[in-house]
Amino acid sequence: MSRHQYIRNLDYQDVLDEYEGYSDEEDDELSPEDRELMTQGTAAVQAALGVEASKVTVAQIEEALWHYYYDVDKSVAYLISKFVNPAPKPAKTQPHQRTGKLATRAFSTVDHALLLDHDLPTDWATKTSNLTDAAPPATLGFSSSVGSRCQASSRTGPSLAHLFHDMPWGNVPAHRSTTFVPPLTPRGGLLGGSGTAPKMSKLQALAAARKKKAQEQSAASNAVAEAVVGLNELSVRDAAGGNEGAAAANPPSKRFKTSAATSLGSLPSLLASKSQTAAARPSPGEAPERLPSAPPPTQPAPSPGLRGTPAESCEATATADDATTTAPSSFGDVLSGIRSSARPTTAAAESKPWDRVEIDFDGPLYGVDGRGKAPPEDDRSSLDWFEVRRRKRGDSDLYEDVVVLFPNLPQSARDAFAKPSPDDIVLAAQAKSQTKAGQKTTPASKAKKTAPAAGTGDAKAEEPKAVEAPLPKSRNLDVLSEFEKHKGKKSASFVVVGHVDAGKSTMMGRLLLDLSVVDQRTVEKLRKEAQTIGKSSFALAWVLDQRAEERTRGVTIDIATNRFETDKTIFTVLDAPGHQDFIPNMIAGASQADFAILVIDAGVGAFEAGLKGQTREHSLLIRSMGVSRIIVAVNKLDMVSWSQERFEEIKNQMAGFLSMASFQAKNISFVPVSGLYGDNLVRRSANPAAAWYTGPTLVEELESSEPSARALTNPLRITASEVYRTMQSPVTVAGRVDAGSLQVGDALLVQPSGEKAYVKSLLADDAPAEWAVAGQSVVLHLSHIDPIHVRVGDIICDPAKPVARSDRFTMKALAFDFLTPMQVDVHRGRLHAAGRIDAIPALLDKVTGAVANKKPKIVKPGTVARIVVQLEAPVPLEAGQRVVLRSGGQTVAAGLLE
């Protein structure tokens, strides 16, 4: 309900009832004293009239006496002029003067009449008000031109000063300013809310305090002025005080709909008019000129000036009501709707406007047109909020008592509350799920206690955590059979290694471009960007080198991963950095690869430099990381105009070197390519100078390479190469499944932290999947684990067969440099840990593996030895894993854990 409607529905009867006493005093019952005076006066008048007394009735005499305040002479004069010798037209000046005088008197007393129920004699008040009522009729017919003329004569100096003589010009005298009645509703708060006292905002409180202060100040200054204010003002203030009292007596929730009612002046005038109509009701046939009492009774003492003489204003306001109100036109009738349709439109009703107010309502109107049927009167008290009803139970003769709550409401409203509320449903469901989750945690925590303890021994018994989310559901698939059934493309990953600036990234960028993995537009954009910093030849490399630092420096820093697919295989490209400073990153890449592409710069001098540098180191590293298949891409042959001699020379040298690094000859292939132009990468070279090469292209070589056998049945091992945050899970781990298999819902153990996690969902080879097997690159969304427990290089494993954590291990190492008991860095994939060579128990034979020499002091490059490495912190390592030992930025050894 709108506020408007609410205010409209307020009950004003209470408010108006308080003034009933006033309206009662308006009754024209004469008091005994008046009656006495009246009889005496009547007798005197009749005596004065003598024989003419028969021409006037007693009522007329009384009327005249009443008006002239028992002045016998005046009454006689009036009666003679009016009834005995009615003049054709009464003299104009006489009544004017008379009414003027009377009106002045009336106005001097009218303020007393205001004192609703104060100590003045009520009869006097009644009299005076009646006097003012009766005054006007004689002057009604005054023409305005005459009026203005007579004003002119009555006025002394018609000038501007006179015109504005009572204009306060801002200094409104105290008696003219109204007394503001405080608003009836407690305002000052925010709108809306419950029935409690509204809270004041700070700003409002400040404003209120300021206002109060200002009022106090003004009150102090006004005190002097108020002391000299006359009786009239006092009486006005009394009236105002009465009003204020009345307003305060109202219940604060009630509020006048009309704002005029809240102001000082109009309230009594409203009431007065109401009481007039009330007075009119019992005797509608009474003389009409008495009833619509003309001036608003609260009018302050008028000052002659703008408004003219008091008589004039009195005359102005004495215009009868029926002259100003009318029935609406048919349009207005329709517009104003129900109310006017109930109004009689007879001429009689129009001529007596107070009849219109008399129309009684039979009660509120219902329906749009007001003709609707009222709902049956409900005599239930508000206490009847329940009802006992007797209902027959089923088919038996038994009756049962049913308590119906709020029987006064319609059934639909009751039905709405019969069921639990939506809130209750939700709360109940939440409570239920919490108890369920609580039951679940118990077995889960039990499993935690048993499982990790089996392998590591130091996996601490975990506190049962409050599990806030349900565990991911496992479908319990047989992953291996699923994998066999799965007829997808096989996946393989390869790492691109080579000396720095051999063109690895550019070649891979060209490969991806030719395979439409990246579109031409992207490359054009990169080319433009590269041109702006003067490195236009790096545009293709930037497809993979996406970091700002890599682009400005023009070298690959970290491995970049990309994916492309051919007809048969999905390949994961690992573009490794060639720079010797970033060998650890290269190791991380190589550890995820099935085979390798070794890129060699065919430029004069460049190949030779590489052979001494990272071409050699990378070859040794990838071999010791377990990569056996290698494709040698002899790059930049366009720089040497596709010279076959150069290619053959490089091929011979590299074949010798690679076989020395224990690559088998069948696993080595050579492809002459141009990475910048894409010759022999995806398509054969169209250059006639390169026509001598008829072998397979690089992609064909890749496709023909069988990835190494997957360790599908081994326990699960995943090396986390990236840990980050996604929408799916705060702990998202990317890595390669080194061994084993997993599926959604599996419990996993993160080593070395020993924390347990669950697979919420996973992506295998960038596609959402239910399961993943060894060899695939996966992205795991883990749950039930804190992100601080998972770091890059961690091993994620099967909790049933966890990887051991150890700070000491023995390994069979191939030395690339002299090995003595010294500080080394142990690299395994992304994992690297600081340690030292603790002992060299034996020197081994390179071919047979037999112990050649016990406890050597030093291990020479190219020899194989068994060494013991002590680490500073335990790391997850197990037998069969390949690690690289580096020292001082050089790879010193690589080998197999025992």
Partner: protein
Amino acid sequence: MTDRRRINGPPGETIPPFFDDADRAPETAKGRFRPSNAIRKMFLKTGVTPSASGSAYLEISTSAKPGASGLKLSCSVHGPRSLPRSAPFSPHLVLTTHVKYAPFATRQRRGYLRDSSERDLSVHLETALRGAIIADRWPKSGVDIIVSILEGDQERETSRSQGDEVWEMMNALSGCITVAAAALADAGIDCVDTVAGGVAALVQDTDGDESQPSIVLDPVPSEHAKILAACCVAYLPTRDEVTNLWFRGDVPASDMELYNSLVEKGIQASRNANRVLVGCLTESVGEGDTS
């Protein structure tokens, strides 16, 4: 500003012409049927627009026969409502008045956008109401007062004499003031008093200079041969204050008395209108009692 949103008719269109019929006696100037100090009968009703906070409808009929043209005003008051965020802080109630003639309200068809005369009326109305509203009771609030003039008090028959429309505008303004005061009261916005408008005019009933001009209340241009001057007054009866005064006409500057009497008569007209207003509000309070 041109109106680009609606399809407007050609400019300057009028209602169909009213031809003098030979058979019918031409309706000459009808003259004034009511006393010179009486205003026309009016009908005032509050609460006609349910969706507005307060509303009122005022109707003044010129002639005795119902349905004849007169003044029909509808006023709706929206608010007090909080000012938009973009508006600067105001410690008082921000009063916004819109007076709009309906396109069909006058002989000369009006556009859909407010023209200058309508804006002028709005300013007058705002001045008149500002004196009555106790604005500091509603800080940070705004009130929109929208008066639609549905019928602009222009006689169809007098279409041949396209007189000065200012006189009709004065009548419209006095009606606007009265109806807006009623709507304000209906909305429950605090006022010091009910303000009502009244018009008095110095008219000449017969053509020619020899006749004596007289002052009439609530002049209807078609009833008089000539209107020499007119004055529209917005008056607070209880406080004896004039909140707005609009005087127009050719009156010799020396005749100060004439100015005085015109304003007085205007106040008298305003008092008469105020009685209707108070009666209407009393009635609506009474309705509130019964329903």
